[in-house]
């Protein structure tokens, strides 16, 4: 086991001091000289033809600098997947949901912009709308998009092995239906941006985004500009979780307004607009049929899923694939059939949110497996261990578990929660439940078809050699990626962490696909490691040349150049360095070992700017069938949880008392950050299980578009979390590292469901477990018991 100097320990985050002191700049903290403020005009109705747009009053309002509609540009269709570019910046003929954008204005101050927006008169002719999957798929229902009959945005039909044949060999077959609800990601920082189209025709967009690279390409495409003239810069971001993983209409509108006015334009979403924008978790209805043998061997799974997707595709085509593909693991499953439909409705569009299409599917299946274990008379832990995949196993749909600490995660939570002492012995009203899950460590393919590297990193040494500047387009959105890359660079180069600076989130720096699908530790990490090693080699080559030592016999460790065997006489190099630094008080003394600082300086004098580059692209992954790419990844992160709950029979209230989560992250670069991701995942999962649901009225208007009525967990709702790290040494990961950000949310909802069953004897097939839902179900059960 190699010894590391920087990684695999706790490290305070590089950005934490700025964040705790209020110095960290988020987009709404920024201003540019001459900045204008923009406001959007959005549809108040769910489905309507636009008969006319009258902007005259708005244009005449003093202080208004520009008004834009579909007439002024942005009519090039865009979206997330090129296969589903189904939206335009502004609606010309038709609005498809409450919140659909029709126009935007820019004015000298926000109040004037808002007033101008209210003066724009849009003549809507309301037409019938569809709000549920059933309504949308009915024969003769209003169609949202001509190209997609029956409002089916995307349809998937896959079969691996022969499910019907496998079911015939099963001793037990069980079918269940499960329904989650539409979510909101509820990141604390609302989306915002400042677009600056300068006098030389270059556009810089400062924006709160997870994906500067994809936003740059979308902006260039929609505005009809060369990609090279668009720069996207990400300031600090107050959370992303998925909805910020693509360009949004506000960003595009701000760019259009800036180009029109020649001035920087700032725009923000209010909290209500964040809800209207959505691009968060879909509602999934899963119908699962699972077959097993008497001894608990899993044989077959039939999965049908209907996704209520809202008015546009967003990430939806990937979502509908994930809702099927992510059940092929973490258990050995030889036969799997999946039929999925993602359906358009006249509601805000749904997209990707932490765990993507895997969360609802996992919740449904882990509860069903619990039911099956009980019917077989097996402990649910034994059932999971019996079927768990190991490193080297390949799923029926072609995912290769190159490292897979599933077993170890289960054992860790069993021990950490004292499952064996508690299962079956919980006091009245209390229950304990477990579940597992996993996620990809970066999507195997970029969102647009391309041979591009997924990550490139540039590392430049300061010419005095003392500082290592890591330049990366990757996105620090709160998960800690900047610190992770600094630690990887420091380790790979051989210098202490405090010599490393990271500049990130700027498309001018390097190509990086950004923070989504849990990719950055593995992918950006690889590129960072390669760039650091490249730089180290370049420096050592110069020094080795001058000292007559082969590079293979040199290394850098803890900021010092080390030699195999006795160090040569490097006094000439030292003297050269000291001569250049007369008057400096921190020069190395004669007898000290050769420092990397000196070596880097010598290398600079010899070669000029010292720059190392690295890149990463996964190998060819997955099968050749349609949709095979969705779910492919260079690595997978398994996770397990045990949850204890109390259910109050009088009120239906579910309290989560204790949570124990174990996640296999391959190799922890920063232990504190890994724990933080586990703890945060659990809290989002708890919210989705117990409280969270976006509610609509009969006209498609959101009823709870605020954080008072869309309830996310508070410090009183979250119990203590025991976060356990499992390290399986991923061969495809830098230093063995892989993801943690999304795998850890997978077991949470089903662990809670299974614990609630343990406490009450009642199974819930619909989320969230509000007190009302739980109370009514308990009442029903009591009635049944009485009448038996």
């Amino acid at each position: 086991m190699p010894e590391y100097d920087v990684i695999n320990r706790r490290a305070p985050r590089l950005d934490a001091p700025d964040k705790v002191s209020g110095r960290a700049q988020y987009i709404n903290d920024m201003t540019l000289p001459g900045m204008l403020y923009g406001a959007l005009v959005q549809s108040p109705v769910a489905h309507a033809r636009i008969l006319g747009v009258d902007t005259s009053k708005a244009r005449r309002l003093p202080g208004v600098r520009a008004v834009v509609t579909a007439e002024d540009g942005g009519e090039i269709p865009y979206g997330v997947s090129p296969a589903r570019y189904d939206e335009t910046l502004f609606c010309r003929d038709r609005v498809r949901y409450v919140g659909d954008e029709v126009a935007a204005v820019a004015a000298g101050d926000l109040e004037t912009a808002l007033e101008a927006a209210s003066l724009i008169q849009v003549d809507y002719e309301e037409i019938p709308a569809v709000f549920t999957v059933e309504e949308a798929m009915t024969e003769g229902a209003p169609q949202l998009h001509e190209r997609y009959p029956r409002n089916v945005c995307a349809e998937v039909h896959q079969e691996f092995g022969d499910v019907e044949a496998a079911l015939m060999e099963c001793d037990l077959i069980r079918s269940d239906t499960f329904l989650n609800k539409r979510q909101d990601a509820a990141f604390l920082e609302p989306n915002g941006c400042i677009a600056h189209y300068d006098l030389n025709g270059f556009l810089t967009l400062y924006t709160s985004t997870q994906v500067p690279h994809y936003v740059m390409r979308t902006v260039a495409m929609v505005l009809g500009m060369p990609v090279g003239k668009v720069r996207v810069v990400k300031p600090y971001v107050g959370g992303g979780f998925g909805p910020k993983a693509a360009a949004n209409p506000m960003e595009l509108a701000a760019c259009l307004l800036s180009r029109k006015t020649g001035r920087p334009v700032k725009m923000n979403y209010t909290r209500e607009q964040v809800f209207l924008f959505s691009r968060a978790r879909h509602q999934f209805k899963h119908i699962l049929t699972t077959g097993v043998k008497r001894d608990g061997t899993l044989m077959a799974l039939k999965n049908a899923c209907y996704l209520e997707g809202g008015a546009y595709a967003s990430f939806g085509i990937a979502t509908v694939y994930y809702a099927g593909s992510l059940l092929s693991a973490p258990y050995r499953l030889p036969s799997m059939k999946y039929d999925g439909w993602r359906v358009y409705t006249n509601k805000p569009a749904c997209g990707a949110q932490r765990g993507h299409g895997g969360v609802a599917a996992r919740a449904a299946w882990e509860q069903q497996l619990d039911i099956i274990s009980e019917e077989l008379g097996m402990d649910p832990v034994e059932f999971r261990l019996k079927n768990a995949m190991r490193a080297g196993d390949v799923t029926c749909n072609g995912f290769n578990m190159s490292s897979f600490g599933m077993r170890e995660c289960i054992e860790a939570v069993v021990e950490g929660s004292r499952w064996k002492e508690k299962k079956g012995k919980m006091p009245q009203g209390k229950g304990i439940g477990m579940a597992t899950g996993f996620f990809v460590s970066g999507a195997g393919y970029p969102i647009y078809r391309s041979d591009t590297a997924h990550s490139t990193v540039v590392i430049k040494l300061s010419e005095d050699g003392g500082t290592v500047n890591v330049l990366t387009g990757s996105a620090e959105i709160g998960q800690g990626s900047d610190t992770t890359m600094a630690m990887i660079a420091a380790e790979a180069l051989g210098v202490p962490l405090d010599q490393v600076r990271v500049t990130s989130g700027d498309t001018d720096l390097s190509v990086d696909l950004g923070a989504y699908s849990s990719r950055q530790t593995l992918m950006t990490g690889h590129a960072t490691k390669e760039a650091a090693e490249d730089l180290k080699r370049q420096v050592l080559e110069v020094v080795g040349n001058k000292l007559g030592v082969a590079v293979e016999n040199m290394d850098v460790k803890r900021g010092l150049v080390v030699f195999r065997g006795d160090p040569p006489d490097f006094s000439a190099l030292r003297n050269q360095y000291i001569k250049e630094h007369r008057g400096f008080t921190d020069n190395p003394n004669e007898k000290a070992p050769l420092t990397f600082k000196e070596a880097a300086r010598i290398a600079y004098l010899e070669k000029g700017s010292m720059v190392g580059t690295g890149k990463y692209k996964p190998g060819q992954l997955g099968g050749q069938f349609k949709g095979a790419t969705v779910g492919t990844s260079p690595a997978y992160g398994p996770s397990a949880q045990v949850v204890e709950v109390t259910v109050d029979k009088e009120t239906g209230k579910v309290t989560v008392d204790r949570m124990t989560g174990a996640h296999d992250c391959g190799f922890a670069i920063n232990l504190t950050s890994v724990e933080g991701q586990i703890e945060g995942s659990l809290s989002m999962g708890l919210g989705e299980a117990l409280f969270e649901e976006v509610k609509f009225d009969e006209k498609g208007r959101i009823l709870n578009a605020n954080l008072g009525e869309y309830k996310i967990p508070t410090a009183l709702d979250m119990p203590r979390v025991k976060a356990l790290i499992v390290e399986s040494q991923e061969p495809n990961g830098p230093f063995g590292a892989k993801e943690v950000g999304e795998g850890a949310i997978m077991p949470t909802i089903p662990a809670i469901l299974n614990a609630v069953y343990d406490a009450t004897g009642v199974r819930f097939h619909e989320l969230p477990l509000t007190p009302e839902r739980v109370f009514m179900a308990l009442q029903e059960t009591d009635k049944e018991d009485i009448t038996k």
Binding site: R10, P12, R13, D15, A16, P17, D18, K19, V20, S21, G22, R23, A24, Q25, Y26, N28, D29, A185, A186, F187, L188, E189, P190, Y236, V237, G238, G239, F241, T270, R271, I477, G478, Q479, G480, T672, S673, E675, G676, E679, G680, S681, L682, S683, M684, N706, L707, G708, I712, P713, T714, A715, L716, M718, R720, V721, A723
Partner: protein
């Protein structure tokens, strides 16, 4: 018409003209350049805009600027000392209590107010004091641990020191 008000912000006297319907949050962020206090919901539901008003934690988005006339306001920018970060701020850094950082200023001020009233709180008292500050990233675990650690170190300086 704007009103001229005087108030103390982070121990410094401040004289400023404000609109009657302007919130303290907008005054701090837009007019005084104190952007450490965050705007997240603008309706008192998330706690991101928490500041101390005469020592009490309030949602600055629910306080009119004119209501702060003649009073003491402490924002996150006022936490630092000449020696650097306050022990509570340091505890947040050391214990990994900061991820995206957007809830952090409000969270720290609520915690500071707690520790000034109750220097050695129980865990449930910490959670209660922070219950008005939403966080979506951390699950609150390391925030609670940071506040516990800070409560065990030297006493915090009081307002007016």
């Amino acid at each position: 018409m704007k009103k001229l008000i005087s108030l103390t912000i982070n121990n410094r006297p401040c004289e400023v003209a404000v609109e009657p319907r302007q919130t303290l949050l907008d005054l701090l962020r837009n007019d005084l350049g104190l952007t450490g206090t965050k705007k997240c919901c603008d309706m008192g539901e998330c706690g991101s805009c928490t500041v101390l008003l005469d020592g009490n934690p309030v949602n600055a988005c629910l306080v009119l600027a004119v209501q702060a006339r003649g009073r003491h306001v402490v924002t996150i920018e006022g936490m630092e000392t000449e020696e650097g970060l306050d022990p509570l701020q340091k505890a947040f850094v050391e214990h990994g209590a900061v991820q995206c950082g957007f809830c952090t200023p409000g969270m720290i001020l609520s915690a500071r107010s707690l520790l000034e009233r109750n220097p050695h709180p129980e865990e449930n008292e910490i959670r209660m004091a922070l219950s008005g500050n939403l966080c979506r990233c951390t699950g609150y675990q390391k925030i609670v641990e940071a506040v516990q650690a800070a409560s065990e170190s030297r006493p915090l300086r009081k307002e007016g020191d």
